[in-house]
Amino acid sequence: MQQTLTLHDRDELITPLYKFDRKFWMVIAFLIAIITPGMLLYVRQLVLGLGVTDLNRPVFWGAYLVNFIFLIGISMAGTVISAVLQLLKVNWRRPITRIAESLTVFGLMTAGLQIIMDMGRPDRLINTLLYGRLQAPLMWDIASLTLYLLTAVFALYLQLIPDIALLRDTAPAAAPEWRKKLYSILSLGWTGAKEQWRRLEKAITVVSVFIIPIGISLHTVTSWLFSTTVQPGWKSTILGPYFVVGAIFSGIGLLFIAVSLAREYNKHLKEYITETFYINLGWIFIVMSAVWFYFTLNETLVVVTEQETLEFPVMASKLFGQFAPAFWGMNILMIAATWILVAPKFVSDKPTRNPLLQTVTGLVATGISVILFFLLWLQLPALSDPNIQTGLIIAFVLLFIVALFGVTKWMKTRLITSTVIASAFVLFGMWLERWNILMPTLTHARLIPYTTYTPTITEIAVTISTFGILTLMFVVFYKFFPSISIWEVEEGRALEQIADRR
């Protein structure tokens, strides 16, 4: 059999799959270490009931639900990257489609897990299949989530088939027998016949078309869980699209991080996943942040302006009440993320003599501004003079601007690092966004005194555990399957060659 796959590619992409080195086991050990406490505490929760959380009346939903929406959100990555870009025949998507699609699958799986963890009676989950009612939005969510998960698994699997066949055929002799068998079964007897290719491509295209509405429906339906109730703060007509945008946003964010981690773990991937990908996807990121800001402003401004008696206290708690840290924290994180992405675009690559744009200047300014910030924060009596305070604030602002300029240059030269930072900001900000949608309304019930909610150690541990599980699935999966779609990359290269030849 003739192969176009070079030995080089094979070394880089297939050999590591059989290499269970120290690094791998350490990662696994670390992940299990962070998963275990949460799982143990969850078992405790199963025994004792949800009383181990800080949920109460009226805060009936808490961190688990926030995690659920967040995880559903990051599952949007697969739909956007894989399906949309595939339909648009965007070429630079090829190396990352697999990671994106697997993120969708794992995100949905862990999201489902959150729902089960949130249930008072997980042993009665079967009741949803026995007595399900169509009128209940939760049923729509169950339908949508299951369909999305199935479709995503199917899409991922479709794309995997040629690679599995490749793995089957190129498995080293030392490979364990069960793995060979696994690949053999999973490859479905793929031979690479032209008709097979044709049918595969057709199937992929069809699935790509269908997965988009299914994905959007899931995020929308999840928003409807809230907006179909009569609770203040959730009766927003833009909640559906807002959730979708948030989902795309956080999905891309996690994708950036996952891809960058994969690149770090397997250095060879850097040849496939180049900076082009970061630059191009970065633009989508920027557009999404603009849309996100638009929605946030929309939601905030309308409520603030109408000052409706029920809605406004909820919004007020976000603007300057108990949720102000979360709300403004979210906004600052999003602004920072956008700035990190946008600012370097305005800076030239060439060395500059402008001291404002020197990295050193930036770092020094950052240091001093941090010190100034803490001085202001501590409210030392020695600095209580209004003039001194004003001076300090002005100095802090100026130095902060200088720091921003200085750091820009540094960021420009480290595209990937800065993108990852921005993604982390976005991820954290989007988690907070979900928190800010859920919690203010729940804590501001109409006929129950306003309350607070602080996740307990159980909820925090379970949350950490959830993200641990997500990572573990990711790591283990890519020990069995190549982290980039080999055949798609090949296809891309071939297409480029064709383009070059012309």
Binding site: L129, G132, K194, E195, R199
Partner: protein, 62 residues
């Protein structure tokens, strides 16, 4: 304005959305259809026979 619930059509809709188990059935149907479609698609792909033309090497040479 009263909701015309006495109309058989609306009665049917009402029955449809509000009966325990009907939702499950609909969801089951949806999922069953999806799974079946996926399985059939996979079989369809796998069942493609080598037509004697260019095979395994990819991409097809143009």
């Amino acid at each position: 304005m009263n909701f015309p619930l006495e109309q058989p059509l609306f009665q049917f809709f009402y029955w449809l959305v509000n009966t325990a188990g009907v939702g499950s059935a609909v969801v089951g149907l949806l999922i069953g259809a999806a799974v079946t479609t996926f399985a059939l698609t996979l079989r369809w792909i796998a069942s493609a026979k080598d037509m004697g033309q260019e095979s395994y090497p990819y991409p097809p040479k143009h």
